[in-house]
């Protein structure tokens, strides 16, 4: 009984960490692959990169924390998630590595070919994680082909290299790309000035309708492709989560068209977090279902750490997560002003 309370607590925290990660890195990734279309010259590109300069690393740590929390709280899920999805995670890893150094290296040498090279690197290494996270989570929502025996601790993956690239997985990938594209454009709009800001706002508005179409297709296809709706049919209160997601997506457009871009960005944050929460709440009590055998589902009950470890980790999380959130908000406030051309041209530390 007590164990299951902690298992549920960690399930919620697990979903929370992923949601916050997508919300925060979502705009860095989105801005990364959209900067090609938003910026007209090198200075504007630098302005865009510098809008995420102080925060991208801190945002990426949410991924490391989500991974670490999976390891600490649900080690069996961690082990099978990362090994079954080996190739996808490898590509993700390469992309995240390249993205991080691109920001750092791009401005270190003057020269058009050098910068153009890193610009291409930023585009690809930002686009790929957006797509891959979507594909990976789409596959998690629908289940992956694994056969697990928990009493003897034998685990088998029956998927091939390309089995993740199924229609539903790909659709979720496109959904993530679209969400992050709008999110990143809105972030660019509220963090820059003049033409660049206007262009980014216009881009976000233009991409909204395609995003809506993809989102509707995703919600519809989720019904035949996954069992996510079962939980919602069983307890209607949970429907608040997808309703907030959909409501935020609509409010995003309303706010953007009336020129209230900060509000639109806030709704974009909510949309992304609650799309993630929608999927996670639908999974409960599974972390990763099996697509071939219900008994092989990785659940919070058969893959969690011991009560002792969960208790310790709960104490750690209760103390440190609020502290982290507090100083992150403080630093975001310090960097709340918009970045101008003069800022990047006059600062030797700028990217």
């Amino acid at each position: 009984m007590e164990l299951s309370i902690f298992q549920i607590t960690w399930f919620i925290l697990w979903g929370f960490l992923w949601g916050v990660y997508f919300m925060l890195d979502g705009f860095v990734l989105g801005l990364g692959f959209m900067s090609r279309f938003l910026a007209k010259n090198d200075t504007e590109k630098r302005v865009l990169i510098n809008t995420v300069g102080p925060v991208w690393d801190g945002n990426e740590v949410w991924l490391v924390t989500a991974g670490g929390a999976t390891f600490a709280a649900f080690p069996t899920t961690y082990a099978l998630m990362f090994s079954n999805l080996y190739t996808a995670l490898l590509l993700l890893l390469f992309a995240l590595i390249v993205r991080g150094v691109s920001f750092e290296f791009r401005g270190k040498i003057d020269g058009a070919p050098w910068r153009a090279g890193w610009d291409t690197a930023i585009t690809i290494s930002s686009f790929l994680p957006a797509l891959l996270f979507g594909v990976a989570f789409g596959n998690i929502f629908e289940g992956i082909p694994m056969r697990n025996d928990f009493t003897t601790a034998t685990f088998a993956y029956e998927g091939g290299l390309l089995s993740l690239l199924n229609p539903y997985g790909l659709l979720t990938g496109v959904l993530f790309v679209m969400l992050f594209a709008v999110h990143g454009s809105l972030y660019a709009a509220i963090k820059t000035t003049g033409e660049l800001s206007d262009r980014a706002a216009a881009m976000a508005s233009r991409l909204w309708l395609p995003l809506l179409v993809v989102a509707v297709a995703f919600l519809a296809y989720t019904y035949p492709a996954t069992k996510l709706y079962d939980n919602y049919l069983n307890s209607a209160a949970l429907l608040a989560i997808p309703l907030i997601a959909v409501g935020s997506l609509l409010m995003l457009k309303v706010s953007a068209s009336t020129g209230r871009l900060h509000r639109a960005f806030t709704f974009s944050c909510l949309t992304i977090a609650f799309v993630c929460f929608t999927g996670v709440a639908g999974l409960f009590p599974n972390l990763i279902p099996s697509s071939i055998d219900a008994g092989s589902n990785l659940t919070i009950y058969n893959s969690s750490s011991s009560l002792y470890t969960l208790r310790i980790m709960t104490v750690v999380a209760l103390i440190f997560v609020p502290i982290v959130i507090a100083y992150k908000i403080w630093v975001y406030r310090i960097f709340r002003s918009r970045i101008t051309n003069e800022d990047v041209l006059g600062d030797s530390e700028a990217y």
Binding site: F71, Y86, L93, F155, S306
Partner: protein, 448 residues
Amino acid sequence: MDALMLSRIQFAVTCMFHFIFVPLTLGISVMIAWMETRYVMTGDEMWLRMTKFWGKLFLINFALGVVTGITMEFQFGMNWAEYSRYVGDIFGAPLAIEATVAFFLESVFIGLWIFGWNKVSKRVHAISIWLVAIATNLSGLVILLANGWMQHPVGFVLRNNRAEMVDFLAVLTNPYGLIKFGHQLLSGYTVAAFFVMGISAWHLLRKNEIDLFKRSFRQAAIFGLVAAILVALLGDMHSVEVARTQPAKFAAMESIWETKKGVGMNLLLLPDVTAECNLVEKFCVPNMISMLAFHDPNAEIKGLKDIPKDERPPVLPVFASFRTMVGLGTFFILASLLAVFLSFKGNIESQRLFLKLLVFSIPLPYIANQLGWVVAEVGRQPWIVYGVLKTSDAVSRNVSGIQVAVSLAGFTLLYTTLGIIDIYLLFKYARKGPETDISELIHLQGRA
């Protein structure tokens, strides 16, 4: 080659590459924090110029350290799924704690430090680099406690088909991990000290910015001397711990084949692994190894022959790495002692030969760090968790050799490219020297 061997090579490659960047970060962050503190306290602009110059090199180095660190976390699950499942109840906790407690602090305040020159006061700016330094050192502590547990597992029981934690305090206070952390931390400080001394020496040889580089040199020399001496002391404590808890590793480090009492140390030694003996044993210091290992000249040391063959680590790499590391460590003490002495004599810029030696010594502490890890990790084989889980039982069973071969090739290619670019940039900015005009920066700071 099978997935096991390839996964081991991949772990070694990615870990060693990651560890080119980590030790410098550990030490230089502290040195830069000190420089900036001196600037805030004295208002002397030379300290600020030092902060900026060394800070630039720190950041170029830091970027690769951060991104290659993610690989380490992913890899436990990707390539070592059985390990992760079997010991995740214990090993997952420090990784999650490291992210929550250290990585957030480090990443948020490094952002503030890089971009916040004109956003926060001088004092807050200096505090932010201290927080970065504390966070990197803290993450070292947590990860070495995790590694310490793999070396000398404590505070757990085997049940439910896995190892479960029953005593978190024992994991946190594991002397193996704590001593190793101290040894590692100070090795990182040594890397940073020789890095700063070496680059300062390069500029002093060219008579660039003599005052600034003399000051950098002196700070690094003192830092390096203290660190190098403490590395050796903690290394001695660490080997006592190894002798007590990991007799097979200890025997391999010293290439001891026969169990004996009062074992002496041969200054010249050449092991013959197939014949299970030493070909050459010369210049013996009597009872030295017994003394070092147990602080008792007559203590018995277990020989490799009394350890089952399938539980012995590869002797040659462990022995050779250990000897070389100790030799380098001795050199660091002597070189930094001389550096402190000459630095206080005041005419370091005219000691051209010594300065040249220091330029070429920059890679040596890096090598010593890597060798130390070879001793630690190869010496633990065939175990991944000493006495609990073998490396061969820890590998992912659902990942094929081809997958790992492809990923290993990918990592090698990517890391080689990034490594070359990073080292090129380090060279470029190290040679360029400090900015001469910082009036703009001071003006900006005044507005904060």
